[in-house]
Structures are given as C-alpha cells and as structure tokens.
Subunit: 375 residues, 2 copies
C-alpha cells in the first residue's frame, strides 16, 4: 500500500511518501469489526502466518499462534501483519531510494519510533476501512506497539495483547543494544550507512550484533539444558575455532542473520526499542500515561525471560489496575527465556486462545440481534 501524504515523525522529520507491505489472513466481516493487527518485533515481518506456495520453510513467524483453528483463529478474525517502516522486508526503509536524493536513504533514513509505526499502521487501517481493531497484539517490540495503540488510539482498539514486553528498556537492555550497534557502526564495511553504494554489507558487525542479541533471547537454564558445556570434538582444541556446541550455534545464528538482515534496519529498530517509554512525557508516571486507554488487556510474561522480565509486565498490569482497566495477566513458567513468546507452550497458547474466545464472544454480542437470529 503506497501512501503519498507525508508522515510526520516523532523526531521532527517526516517521510514524504512511503509504502507499507502487509499480509492478511481470514476475512473481514461486514461491519469490519473482526480485524486483529499483529505487530512484529526486531527481525520479523508482515509474514505472520501460513507459508508461501512452493516455498518450503516459509512459515510465518507466528504460524503456531495465527491460523485456522489456532489461538488467534483466522476462521473468526481478519488478521493483518504489517512490515514496519524502516524494516527490510518490503516497507519503505534505509535500502530504498530517498526521493529527495535519488539514492538509498542509508543511515539518513529517519529514526522512527514505536509511536511512528502505530500512526503508520492507523493509516493503513483507514485505507482498509477498519475503524476499530478487535485487537492489536504483539510480542516484545510488538507488545510495545500493542500498548502504544491503546494510548494513541484509545477508541480504535477493543483489546490490547502485550506479550513478553516492557513499558521501557532498562539500562542493561539499552547497553546490550548499544554494543550491538557499535559492532555494526565500527565495521569498516558499514561506510557510514552507505554500504549499498560500495556493494558490501557490514556482515561482521551484524553477526556480532545478532550473537549478542541471541544470548539475551535465551535463558541461562535453557542454554545449559540445550548446550551445556558439550564439545564439538572429543577434547579441547586449544585454538580459536569451535570448541563448544554453544559457539557453533551462536556463530551459525550470526552468520545466517548477516546474510539477510539490513544493518541500518538493525540500528534503527534497536533505537525504537530504546526510545519507547510512554511514561516519559508524564514525568515517569506510567499510570498517567495509561489514563486515557479504553481497551481491555491481556499481558503475558515468561518466568525465565531476563531480557523483559515478568517484573516489567507486572508494572504494566499494576498501572492498568491503578487505572481500573480490565486486565488479564498470565506469568508463564516456561524455560525458554524471551524466545518463549514465539514457541509452543500449552499453557501460553491456551491463555491466548481463551482470551480470543472472549474477544469473539464480545464481537458476537455486538452483532445486531436480527442478524444473529438470521445466522
């Protein structure tokens, strides 16, 4: 979907025009009341569910959560996945030409925020005729978008599902993001963000950035369970190749990531993470930031998530309770750290399923009585 009206950004800059790539699943009902927006995190995209014909291994990133008969049931809901601005999977981003210069934006692509993304998503909703979402849902950075929706467009969202997220990053979170950025920024192949023109990619930096990130997605226990101190060979190698299986795993993850992800996107998305702090403009008072929300909420956290720990989710819940909002909170005892929000866990899945059953019942109750009888 192309948008030719400029999008003013939180930074004061603006995008003169832009494209949003999106996918939809299921059917929009007659009164456009069954739409659910699913927001992605750092390295995901609009491809939330299903797989592409003839493309094996092309499952959507939340395919276990979204689809026919799944917790977010596309037989009931019209689900939309949007690739965010600045990302590298089709929507306007740093690798696209800046219409003002005719050259790729590179590092000059404006630093966008969670709030900017939400405004762009709202315009997409306008175009699709969706006045109000039945729900906006996301995990991690996606959860921040779901939370921001409830504050920025309180009348346009009935439910907000905030999974494995936080009302703001901690100093330690920011520290990890900044080391990752420094790895990219100081890679000689980064060329101040204009690496496209040089025909290179700052793979070394991206690789290290991803390895750092990946450590923070897994729990200490899970890593111990999966890899422990398992050796690749029978004995220590006394060199700097691979000794431990965990090294092999992380290097592989880093290599793979550096093949497909854009370095400028990595930088700007981690900045969006760092900047998110809705309480900031309310003197740090999260209660005040959430005062104008009207949605009902599901907040989910995972016990071993040390990146966005349950304590952070509880802050959101407490602030919502203080505002007398309806909120359901589940703290799932899962071993997989932050990554748990993407994985199958029977209790997690059933909590989300039950919540969407409620959303669905509420929708049904809103259908005019005559229409219900006819059905």
């Amino acid at each position: 979907m192309h948008f030719s009206e400029p999008l003013p950004l939180q930074s004061g800059a603006a995008l003169s025009d832009y494209t949003l790539v999106y996918e939809t699943y299921g059917a929009l009902n007659a009164d456009c009341s069954n739409a659910v927006l699913v927001c992605h995190a750092l390295n995901a995209s609009h491809h939330v569910a299903g797989s592409y014909e003839g493309k094996p291994k092309s499952d959507g990133w939340w395919n276990n959560m979204v689809g026919p008969g799944k917790p977010l049931d596309t037989d009931r809901f019209f689900v939309i996945g949007v690739n965010n601005l600045g990302s590298c999977f089709g929507s306007t981003g740093p690798m696209h030409n800046n219409p003002a210069t005719g050259k790729p934006y590179g590092a000059s692509f404006p630093v966008v925020t969670v709030e900017d993304w939400v405004h762009a998503q709202a315009r997409l909703a306008d175009r699709l005729g969706i006045k109000k979402f039945a729900a906006v849902m996301g995990g991690s950075l996606g959860g921040m978008q779901a939370l921001a929706w409830s504050m920025l467009y309180p009348t346009r969202i009935a439910h907000s599902l905030v999974i494995a997220s936080t009302p703001k990053l901690s100093a330690q979170n920011i520290a990890f993001n900044d080391v990752a950025r420094q790895a990219i920024l100081t890679d000689p192949d980064y060329h101040d963000g204009d690496f496209y023109a040089h025909g290179v990619v700052p793979k070394r930096g991206l690789r290290v950035a991803r390895m750092i990130g990946h450590i923070t997605y897994l729990s200490d226990d899970d890593m111990a369970e999966k890899f422990g101190r398992d050796l690749r060979n029978a004995d220590y190698q006394f060199g700097y190749g691979i000794d431990f299986e965990i090294e092999s795993y992380l290097r592989y993850q880093g290599d793979k990531f550096s093949e497909y992800f854009d370095a400028n996107t990595y930088l700007l998305i981690t900045k969006a993470l760092d900047y998110f702090d809705p309480a900031r403009t309310h003197n740090g008072d999260l209660d005040a930031a959430l005062t104008n929300t009207q949605a009902e909420f599901l907040v989910v956290s995972f016990t071993t998530d040390w990146r966005f720990a349950p304590e952070r989710s509880r802050e959101i819940v407490q602030a919502l309770v203080n505002n007398q909002r309806r909120v359901t909170y589940a703290e799932i005892d899962a071993p997989h750290g932050h990554d748990a929000f993407l994985l199958d866990d029977a209790r997690y899945m059933s909590v989300v399923r039950a919540y969407y059953d409620k959303v669905w019942r509420q929708l049904g109750e809103r259908v005019p009585a005559a229409q219900r009888e006819a059905a």
Copy 2:
C-alpha cells in the same frame, strides 16, 4: 624472574623459556610460612597493591584488600602478585618474540590454562623458597587459580580463598566470551593475530569485547541505579551518537580498554576461563576432583553476581563439604554484581579480614614454643 627450563602445557605444547613479572609486599618470615599468592583475573596484573612512586592513579587492582592493616595485612603476610603467562603486563605473552622465529608469537602463543598458570606460579614459589603458601587467593578467574592450587599442589597450600568464582563456566558464560572473541577475530586490524607487524591494533574488536564483558560484570539493578535511562542531553537525539548515559559509560570503558589491552591476550585468557572445569577429568564429579585437597577454604559469592552466581559458589562449597573439608562460605548481599569482589563492602572486607586472622593465628601456633616465648 626468567625461567629457562621449558614449561609443558596442558595443550601438549610447551614454552621453551619464559619470564614471569611479579611484585611482593611485606616480608617473608624466617621459615617462609607467611607467603600469600594473589591471583589476577582477566585484565589485571601483578600490581596488586600500593602505588608507584610519582605515578598518580597507579593503585594496585586490589589495593583496598591488600596492604598494611588491610584485610590481607602485609604487616603480617608476604604477598606475591604474579602476572600470568600470556597476559600483557610484562610476563611472556603474545606480543613477545617467539625465540624459535624471532617474531612476536601473536596468535601462535599457546593457549594456556588455569592449570598451566598454577604450575608456572609453583616454579616461581620454588625460586622464592616458598614450599607452602599460607594462602592462595583470587577473585573470578583468580578464584579458579586458588581452587586449582588446592587440587594440583595440595601439600603446598594451607588456605584457598575462592572469591566470586565458579567450578566451570556455563553455556551462557562461554557464549559471551565467544562473541567477544568473534568481535576481535573478525576485526580487519587483527590480521590473524599478527597485527604487531602491521603497526595496528584491533581496537574496534577489543572495544566491543570489553563493552560486552562490562555489561556482565555489573548487575542489572546496579546499572539501573547508576544510569537508569538518564539522558546525556535534554531529549532524544534521533541518531546513533550518545543518547543515554549508559552508552557513554560503556563506550568510554571500551575505548580505554582498547588503548592498553592486548587482543591476543584477551582471546587466550577468555579461553582459559572457558576451559577451566576440574570435574571434567572426573566424569563431571566435582567431589571427586576435590578429593585430594588438604587446604581449608574460604568461598565468597555476591548475591547480584549473575556472571558467576552464588549457586556456582555453593557447588564448590557442597563438594568440599562432601569431602569433609573445612570451608567457610559467605554470600554477600551486595548490589554491584560480579564487580563486587573488587569493591569495598564492609561485610565482605570483614569476612576476609576475619579469615586471615585465623590464618595468622594458625601460623603463630605453628611457630615453635621456644621461639614464641622469646618473641
């Protein structure tokens, strides 16, 4: 101290000859029974205590712990600090010439282990006429050396003080070390370890490595307390410079480190950390590994140390108890994470002081009665 007899290493390699740089504090008594060896961690050196004349800011790295009247009292004990082999503060290391080639060792400097260091330290003790240490003490990687001493030279160590350490690194610990190594190894200025010949230093890699390491030395809470989300400027900068004070702090630490630390040393010392696992040759049974120890032990951990958590120290304590060894354990409720072992904390300091009082009393009891009366 130069050693011309070859040192066989755990890897199967050997150092044909080598030099150990060391410092001593206090006086060795007549029966050479009051010697204490202090072992250093990743980036420290033989300069444990005191300061160099005319050099401001040259305090030893454990100057709060070691000195006249301090917990490890140099009016009582003869304290030795040794720079380990492969380090970059004077002892033979990667930046020194390999006698076989006449060129700097670089990455060809053999990967040494904690056990190799202990054997080298034992030779230094031989030269100094020290048959048995009153104590061997260290924090973090230094604690591993203190523990290894108790196993490798059970009759040559009366007390082992193992502070903020672990019997082996976890998968997560190894993961952080490997990312740091990858940052260095993939820095184009690393030149396969021969950067000395190129007149460059892989500063970018060292800087990122240190930033990663530094995050793991601090606790999440301490970072939140010290830096939180404090901004450098009044508002977000919407760029990749410094927004948050934590970024400024970490980049500064990284810059400083990259100015003085050797990249090959960083690689090999992190390998020594990864490889330490005394239970490994006993089918993972730490009890069995500690069976032949004769020393008494002080084990200290810090509640907010998530790098080497209290649980790891408790494993050591449990294994010692299972072997019916005398062990004192203190778990200090300190906010400063792994770094706490280097900082002043009244309870920590008084535990160590009380322990050395005991060591001192035991020494006195060993002085022949006639000599005691004459004194």
